[in-house]
Symmetry: C2
Subunit: 294 residues, 2 copies
DNA sequence: GTTCCGCATGAATCGATAG
DNA sequence: ACTATCGATTCATGCGGAA
């Protein structure tokens, strides 16, 4: 299967306008956090964060298919010894836009930033907010099943004492049936907590999140040939992982350095370079329809 | 050290009025979740949850010392395939009351039962919201330190080979002193993710949390002789753990069954029974001042 | 070629100091 | 008074060089 990548250079609120409505299967992104990464992205003040982000989510809502999913990796920073509330406010405002807040996954960071403060411990988790356009969205749960590890050893042993009796005495009941299914199973469905390390030591490109993160959501919410979008591409983790997994990808990046870096690392056969368009060529129907696989 | 327990039977919004202002060091509680536990508590509809809870947090704000902490164990339920937003709204409203939202700990439930739904996975985490009345609150971080990872062994070995020599040659220097700090360090500060098993064996109560949960926060935020309050006492986990740790405890419970159950399990020497007061005896200054240790 | 060990480095946060 | 910058604090991870 041939897959393609579209790269846009520029402000994502603007560049998103080049993407057709109802065309994207999955959006996975990690926007610049409030007041974070000032040196590279300029930083958005916590007070203005929601206001800054809402026009973008409005466009994301437009480009997403009704069966698609939006995964937003975000975490509030501490301001004056208190957690900021802009993420909470963002969720409430996005629901007003029409998004469904389906779920909140937790990314439990194995190696969180060290430090000691008088009033708090190390922050070792981030939010992975799942938003949907419709309550009926695509989800391929079996793709992310995990080997039964500790759970089997500890839990099933306990079950054998109490519940297995019930299993025998109530054969055919829903409960008993479930138990016996699990006994023979070597894989289990995961939970909504992801336990991954941050990718900190790659000297060439410091990625915001580890490859396993977009990989997991791409497996869960798309199939081969689908379209994955990252409106804050950065070093391109989502793009590269998506390509490797035979998904078409679209990346938007405002910083030329990152844009060029990702461009150079992509296989030329799969790449469409989309520099900012001049006025008279604002639409590119052929290219885009080809990428969507029509 | 002699510690005492006060038990109140009744609606906690009402019973809290019997507790003096600025007297409690720590509040740890797990209120009935919206629409959950219908059989026992009747259940509060998600739409009315914030409205129902705010008068109670108002009272909690009053009774808490300025150096005290409020830990709220809560999780939004799923309503029509979407996460409810009442927890988000509650946080925003509590800040308007004057609470500081200091931190959000995550309780990652180790052994959550596998489950499968068409559009979501097993929910294996809950929020542990930390609120404070003042930005300067008591926190005894060293009480909850945990053993370091494997690498500690190797690092300590290395220090003895290389740096100890330096330590000998530079006796009295600041550098040598630092090394000896490293040598004695085998524990590290924890993060804001708690990895605990769910309590399975308490059949009498529908939603008890494991003893380690209140224990961890009682260690972290109080010292012996302090006052710990649980306004939704339930089966009394917080009360019993607090007593064992030599903290004075106050429990409020609306259901007579739980109230009696806890009462019977408490040592009679440490117990003050506070049945609902009749009008003419609304204050009990002597008893309470004794409990506060004045 | 394995295994072991040193080392730099993270979406951090606080409090003090400086403009 | 209010904002901006800086140093100190801290620990899991994986790379790269060494045994």
């Amino acid at each position: 299967m041939e897959v393609h990548t579209e790269l846009f250079l520029g402000d994502c609120k603007v560049q998103l306008q080049n993407i057709p409505s109802n065309s994207v299967d999955l959006i996975v992104t990690s926007p610049p956090y409030a007041d974070q990464r000032k040196n590279t992205y300029g930083g958005i003040h916590p007070d203005n964060y929601v206001e800054w982000f809402l026009p973008i989510t409005e466009e994301l809502l437009r480009v997403l298919k009704s069966t698609g999913t939006f995964i937003l990796n975000i975490k509030e920073k501490v301001v004056e010894s208190e957690r900021s509330t802009y993420v909470l406010e963002l969720i409430l405002e996005m629901r007003k836009q029409g998004w469904f807040w389906t779920e909140e996954f937790i990314w439990h960071k194995k190696n969180s930033y060290p430090g000691k403060w008088p009033n708090r411990f190390r922050d070792s988790w981030e939010r992975l907010l799942q938003f949907n356009k419709d309550k009926r969205f695509h989800m391929y749960q079996q793709e992310v099943m995990v080997p039964m590890g500790e759970w089997a050893k500890t839990r099933l042993k306990n079950l054998s004492s109490t519940d297995k009796i019930r299993d025998e005495s109530k054969v055919g009941s829903g409960f008993g049936k479930n138990i016996s299914n699990w006994l023979t199973r070597d894989k289990a469905y995961p939970t909504n907590v992801l336990h991954l390390a941050t990718e900190c030591n790659n000297k060439n490109h410091s990625a915001a999140f580890p490859e396993e993160l977009p990989e997991w959501f791409i497996k869960l919410f798309t199939k081969e040939g689908d379209i994955v979008l990252d409106p804050f591409m950065g070093s391109g983790t989502t793009i590269f992982v998506g390509n490797r997994m035979k998904r078409n990808t679209i990346g938007i990046e405002i910083l030329p350095e990152y844009y060029k870096m990702v461009k150079q690392q992509l296989p030329t056969t799969s790449l469409y370079l989309l520099e900012p368009l001049t006025e008279y060529e604002k639409t590119r129907p052929k290219r885009r329809s080809k990428i969507r696989g029509n």
